[in-house]
Symmetry: none
Subunit: 239 residues, 2 copies
């Protein structure tokens, strides 16, 4: 599992080593490897490497270029990022979509460039004009502007997810059969307890609800099924 | 639009100023304000403030405490984060869900703590055991571990989105006391069932997990508590 999409990350005149390093690490976290840096404003030194952590290779392999057009050579789609999205619908240059909207429609085989601007003032209008699509992250109106490492985290993650959709969480989920068995056993206990019918129904539904909303794992279901079985045995033998 | 959810962010022994500052900024970006820091390993100095950017107030207002229990005072739900999620389905302590799964079911009015561990080694098992729910970010198997500032970006953003979408159905959540009562009653049944100790512990943890992940409602808890009480009575009278 190398690069999951044919993505080139391009940092335009980044000003802080910590961000360059953080982005390199995030690239590796989410399966990207190609980093271009246009005129870095700092040396890629110790701090960059500290923040990159185990993603040193991405820093070592990073290609430093002098202008944005060189960085965009061979690119099929260019995606820019901005925190200043259009307030007036007429501003087509900064008409931005969210990362989720981006991945929803993005079906691209060619090379895609993801452009991140300067920490201090983002991408210029001239740079944004080179972008096919502009992405902006919804955030609090009190403080809209995300750090570029944070923005990249959110965009990389959406891209990663869209490519790894079938990969859900880490829980080995229980089968529907297992969940139904679990609920049946619980119902059996309610039966033995001789609850009024309406209360039996409600309590059963409550139990079903929590089993469902919890996304109960196979292991958890097995354990609780075991306990309920034993309970029923005890209850029955005492009857 | 102040704090969008009643969230307390808790950093446990953070080791790098840049991360503390970045997280403060992200909190403000996504509408959170309450920051607790348990035994910071660094001073909150110039670097912290540089990374915090316009979120200085969050740093100034941050509450420094000496132990995690103090930080968790008054909290109704504790959500831990880990990059080491269970590889074996048997490991109930690190049975983690994704940020998306978290927000899918989370409807909480009480105080929610979001716990982030040390950069070097995360949260300990003892600390994770204090968590109702553990969240982990899916990432590349080549390099799983995200920086805590990156993790917090992804989790904060999901919370922000979930709050700024259409409101979902309203669930009156159960109190911590009620949930504890529920688990205690379930434990009591396991006790009566005379399970081997290790299995009792696992089964109890499985039950705790699903109760927590389901964000069980007050009504649901009350109903199941009733059923368990009756079961215990029956079991006891038959002994």
């Amino acid at each position: 599992m190398g690069s999951i999409l044919n993505i080139r990350v391009i940092l335009v005149e980044p000003e802080h080593e910590g961000n360059i390093g953080s982005i390199a690490r995030l690239m590796m976290n989410f399966g990207f490897s190609e980093l271009f840096i246009v005129k870095p404003m700092v040396k890629l030194g110790d701090e960059t490497r500290a923040y990159a952590s185990h993603a040193q290779k991405i820093i070592t392999d990073a290609i430093i270029v002098n202008d944005i057009n060189t960085a965009l050579a061979g690119v099929n789609y260019t995606i820019g990022t901005t925190s200043i999205s259009a307030t007036k619908p007429g501003n087509l240059l900064r008409t931005a979509i969210t990362p989720e909207e981006l991945v929803k429609t993005m079906v691209i085989k060619g090379k895609v460039a993801l452009l991140f601007g300067r920490e201090s003032k983002g991408l210029s209008n001239i740079e944004l004009a080179k972008c096919d699509i502009v992405v902006s992250i919804p955030s609090s109106p009190i403080y809209r502007t995300l750090n570029i490492a944070s923005s990249s985290a959110l965009i990389f993650y959406e891209l990663w997810k869209s490519k790894n959709k079938d990969q859900r969480g880490y829980i080995e989920e229980s089968s529907r059969q297992n969940r139904e068995r679990l609920v049946k056993l619980f119902d059996k206990i309610l039966e033995i307890n001789v609850l009024p019918t309406y209360k039996k129904k409600l309590t059963s539904k409550a139990f079903q609800n929590i089993v469902a909303r919890a996304f109960i794992s196979k292991r958890e279901a097995t354990l609780i099924i075991g306990a309920l079985r034993q309970t029923i045995q005890k209850l029955s033998s005492s009857a």
